[in-house]
Symmetry: C2
């Protein structure tokens, strides 16, 4: 990131007809010079002794002084050898612009493997290949393949994008359409060496960076992601991620039933949610989030809450914002009576005193009105964030624009306001007027575009605030006691599974393996009726299919009879099975049937799933996921995200279920998943019966698979 | 719309310091003159004899010649009297800019009522109040309150927006950011006279208008909306509507159980879907839809289909488009083998031949590559629409922009292509470069902004095409035979309900009212066992609560016994009820339990609802709605929109259900709703049992309420 000297390979004395077509090596040199790079620049090219006033050497080994970093802008076939010779010459880092690696198939994959080996075995730092490189703004070191615009804006946002093209698209739009300054731009392409997780970590540590914004196509070190996201949360540096490729990754064949229910996209969402990552879904949302989270004065004055006040000169826009707010879960509360009486004479002729507050044409005709309306929203006790609809991107000629008539009043209000004020335009698009944008931003008022993006961004802010508050309050997160276990591979017996569950604090139905009918009847007497009998045999998974189950047995004689019937039936239908006995199990009372399980995700390893049994899970895939360890608060959040959540709180005249006991069971399963680690292939409790409030939850049947 | 002469009331000789502050009356005169209005302009103001070179009279009655239309830009309190005197003077139409009517509460409502009366009783045409008026572009008649920009672009799109502010925002953005021309702008405000439905109708008839785009807050004549939308569909004029206020309208208290399940927003969605309205959800979607649907050459070359080809120079953008396409239901298919072999040498060095097709940096370095990639997508047989990622809104200085390097090649490809080509930018926002936008548009290539909006818009186009194809194919739509009925008010008896259902073609369980146990047993023998018995009494709605139901009776003796038990039990528990007998009903076999009903919507009257019984409807509100008449194809569409649809096609090892029979039942219920008209307060069939495929569907229990 901060090399004292760089060697450019792939610069040439041949000029280029236009800036767009100059060799990338030359462009890097021009970028370094225009940024005032304080270190030394040398080039490598056997044809010349100097390029663009920098000394040029025939090969890396010939450079007389030490080089911190090489920049490779050469055809891909030369890259591996050049990096080897750089490493041999004592260079420790490289930026590789060249494409034609893992992204193009087998030949390229092999080429990339050489880079990965070099990075792994010799600790050589590589950015790329297939990237635009690294731009360290405060270090004045743009090892960057794209032309950098004049008037580059330095600031608190570090931007990470694997894609080079989008890194500049986002950066330019942030600077020019949002007046947001950058501390770094990183385009790391195929991540053969440094990964996005490592860059995140660097920026979490970097003092110049306050906000990290990223477009990521694939994570290479998912566990590191969780760790760095937690660290970013602790330091209160928002990590904003647009994750592409949600539909792309093929799902691994599921090891257990519940395992087939959640794709990787849902697991990534869960990982983001648990670690406080601000997850966005489009480039414009990414920009607006970066704009708002990096607006220091705005963020400082935000004290949580989802209630927005809206001021607009257009009644239509008021309607649209209300819809957009409702869509994302923001409130647009009524104004207080105090505000209404304060507004009474200001709005005498034109309107109701509602929120959204419609200033109508009157606001344009009489310029004393707007500041009073704005101040009323700032002062209103029901409102957490004041938003002002302002056309800063009106495409018409300046004299016809309306936005600049109000921005001075907003700046003035912001100067004395303790409440955050943000502006948003009606339409996304059009040229953003810097005469409006820049002074507002400097007054701590960020600009967003469009009602949809603006409300979504404030919702994201509110969620981040809620996450931070929860994180600080939730001490249970830390405790995830681990008990070491080594288990034989295969499907565990019911008895073994249930013992494991008990150790992890998951309540199970009373269960005993019995060897004859008398033992079974005696066990049933001790447990209390009704009971169920189930055949116990490692060879039989679907017990009811072979006559191996009897339910609702109400007295000892029925247990006796059922025992004999089960043994005979199973022997007849599966003569080869080794029968270990018959399990007697007390039958739980009526409750809500849930499934609770663990599947292995290809990125994050064990993932806990929870959903309702029956059609909700089978037809609607209504499943919530989280990554262990899971705190009680996180378990409760999982349940709240289920579409059928209201079933647990009591619908159709049924009593509310014991949600606390269900949370305990989720925490227990997560603890078990952590304890078993890679041994655990899959776990499926189906059903877990959640009894009415205060009566607990009981695992009735389960399959645990060990690898 | 086309007045031969107008009188402006509210213009003044007092000038204004800036364009923004001039009196609205003066602004209209300036607008009329700058547009070259061919008719006569007079003004009314007792202080002057002329204003802005137009003759001025002290009052309307004093104008010597006939006036077609008056324009009122005066304080609201003067409006009603002025309109009265205009009507008395023989004027037939008015545009009322003034605010302060129904939108401000009781006083304003009263004021507006006078306008409504004038409009209703004397046929006086009123646009407004609280609006910007009407701009007829081809008639050169801008009776419009806002300053009109120079270089106004005439074209095929009529824009209707109640909101004045948004009408100009949308119009300017359409013209300047999309190069879309307009035939009219209408801001009709409170719709005291002419309604949005009437304007739609005018534009459906208007030859200059090919596409209608509208932002609507409230419909005043919903039945007219359905009619005009059907007419627009027949004439193949797309009607694009952004409906605001989705969360605003309070739901009417439900008359029946299923009635509580669908809000007005869902009903409006259903109305749009059934009549082919292109429903959009944001201003930018509205703009992109108007842009694409009005691009004549593009639309002509589109032959249906949801498969897009994507060309971009950024791998990251390729990922984002794939995600966005998957989100809205578009396909991004594999390229054909022919295309792949065609591309083999063009992409030798840089990539896979996938769709999205990533041109990478190579496309920027070698300008021969881009046209070949584009042509390959145009020629590919798997692709219906070619989309090109092009930064036409790059905010950087011109020499650093990339978009204009490719637009000429796109124009060239479009000139010879029989396949539609569209462009889209990565980010929404930034100044759109007219040097790219205008020639592309003229070549039949519309520009959209952002992957999300672009994919959504092409999806909207595909749906519109599918709707039109379905409309032409679906002859069943027309036939909705009506049988006249007049029914007594209240809850109908089971027997009456079931007779109605049979007349409407809805199959019902065999049902007979019996007067004694012998009759009941004999009826059961004829129907076949098992049967159910249910008490028949107008006073008893919840039959099972009072012991009035017996199920699964397998032989005559059980029917005999149950008959006596039911009569005794009901007499004991509801001694006041008049008992009409006991209904014997054959019990349907096992099937999928649905609910099917009719509720009255405050806008559209009777609405048919259909959903699954049990938790899907009670917890998840999984209900589909449609407005009668409903064709079989529309009934099938309703079912497909249910989240639990797969239950009908067979899940968990169950056989597929008789979907055709269910569709017949939906069509029958719709027919019944039409036949009964306003008499029907609510109808609730619960359950309708849908038997396995080929075995039909049977209404088992129903409540019908007549007013």
């Amino acid at each position: 990131m901060n090399p004292r000297s760089v060697a450019i390979i792939g610069a040439s004395q041949r000029g280029a007809s236009t800036l767009n077509r100059e060799p990338r090596g030359n462009r890097v040199i021009r970028n370094l010079k225009s940024f005032g790079y304080p270190g030394r620049i040398v080039t490598v090219n056997p044809k010349y002794t100097e390029v663009m006033d920098c000394p040029c050497y025939p090969e890396i080994a010939a450079i007389p002084e030490p080089v911190d970093c090489v920049v490779l802008a050469v055809p891909n076939r030369h890259v591996p050898d050049l990096l080897d010779s750089a490493a041999n010459a004592g260079v420790r880092a490289a930026v590789v612009f060249s494409a034609g690696f893992a992204e193009i198939g087998p030949e390229g994959k092999e080429r990339q493997a050489r880079l990965e080996t070099l990075s792994r075995e010799r600790g050589f730092l590589i950015c790329g290949p297939n990237c635009y490189g690294v731009l360290n703004v405060f270090g004045k070191a743009p090892l960057f393949a794209s032309t950098i615009p004049q008037g580059f804006l330095a600031g608190p946002v570090a931007l990470v994008s694997q894609s080079g093209g989008l890194s500049t698209t986002i950066a330019n739009a942030l600077m020019l359409n949002r007046h947001v300054g950058l501390s770094h731009i990183v385009s790391c392409g195929n991540q053969a060496g440094a990964t996005v997780e490592e860059y995140f970590n660097y920026f979490v540590e970097d003092d110049n960076t306050k906000v990290i914004a990223a477009f990521v196509e694939g994570f290479r070190q998912p566990y590191k992601l969780l760790e760095v996201a937690r660290k970013a949360a602790e330091r209160e540096k928002p990590l904003i991620i647009l994750k592409g490729g949600r539909s792309e990754v093929s799902q691994r064949a599921a090891a257990t039933h519940s395992g087939s229910l959640a794709g990787t996209a849902e697991v990534i969402d869960a990982a983001f949610r648990q670690t406080g990552v601000v997850a966005v879904r489009s480039l414009n949302e990414l920009m607006d989030a970066a704009s708002v989270f990096s607006c220091e004065r705005f963020i400082r004055s935000y004290q949580g809450g989802r209630s927005i006040g809206v001021l607009s000169g257009s009644g239509g826009e008021c309607t649209l914002v209300s819809d957009a707010a409702a869509n994302v879960g923001l409130e647009v509360p009524e104004l207080t009576e105090t505000t209404k009486s304060q507004l009474q004479d200001a709005v005498s002729d034109f309107g109701n005193m509602n929120n959204p507050l419609d200033g109508t044409g009157a606001m344009y005709d009489d310029e004393r009105i707007f500041p009073r309306l704005l101040q009323a929203l700032v002062d209103d006790a029901n409102i957490d964030v004041v938003t002002v609809n302002l056309e800063a991107n009106d495409p018409r000629p300046k004299e016809l624009k309306s936005g600049n008539r109000f921005s001075a009043a907003i700046e003035k209000a912001a100067a004395s306001s303790k409440k955050p004020i943000a502006c948003f335009s009606s339409i996304v698009g059009g040229p953003v007027d810097p005469d409006i944008l820049v002074p507002l931003r400097e007054a701590g008022v960020p600009l967003m575009e469009g009602a949809e993006c603006a409300t979504m961004t404030i919702r994201n802010l509110a969620e981040y605030y809620e996450f931070q508050r929860g994180r600080k309050a939730d001490r249970s997160n830390a405790a995830a006691p681990v008990f070491a276990k080594t288990l034989a591979s295969g499907i565990l017996s019911a008895a073994t599974s249930f013992r494991l569950f008990e150790e992890a604090g998951i309540p199970v139905a009373s269960t005993l393996v019995t060897r004859n009918a008398d033992e079974a009847a005696a066990a049933a007497e001790r447990m209390g009726f009704p009971v169920a009998l189930k055949i116990e045999s490692a060879q039989i998974t679907h017990k009811s299919d072979v006559g191996g189950v009897a339910l609702k047995l109400n007295d000892a004689s029925k247990v006796h009879e059922a025992y004999g019937r089960i043994i005979n039936e199973v022997r007849r239908r599966v003569p080869t099975a080794k029968i270990d006995g018959v399990v007697v199990q007390s039958m739980a009372g009526a409750g809500v049937e849930m499934i609770l399980g663990v599947k292995r995700d290809q990125l994050f390893g064990p993932v806990v799933l929870c959903g309702f049994g029956g059609i909700l899970v089978e037809v609607l895939k209504d499943v919530a996921v989280a990554i262990p360890p899971i705190s009680r608060a996180q378990a409760r959040d999982m349940l709240k995200r289920l579409r059928g959540f209201s079933i647990l709180t009591g619908v159709r005249g049924k009593p509310p279920a014991d949600v606390e006991a269900l949370c305990d069971a989720i925490v227990g399963v997560a603890r078990l998943a952590t304890a078993l680690g890679d041994q655990l292939l899959g776990l499926d409790i189906n059903p877990l019966i959640v009894l009415p409030k205060g009566q607990g939850a009981i695992a009735v049947d389960a399959v645990v698979e060990i690898q």
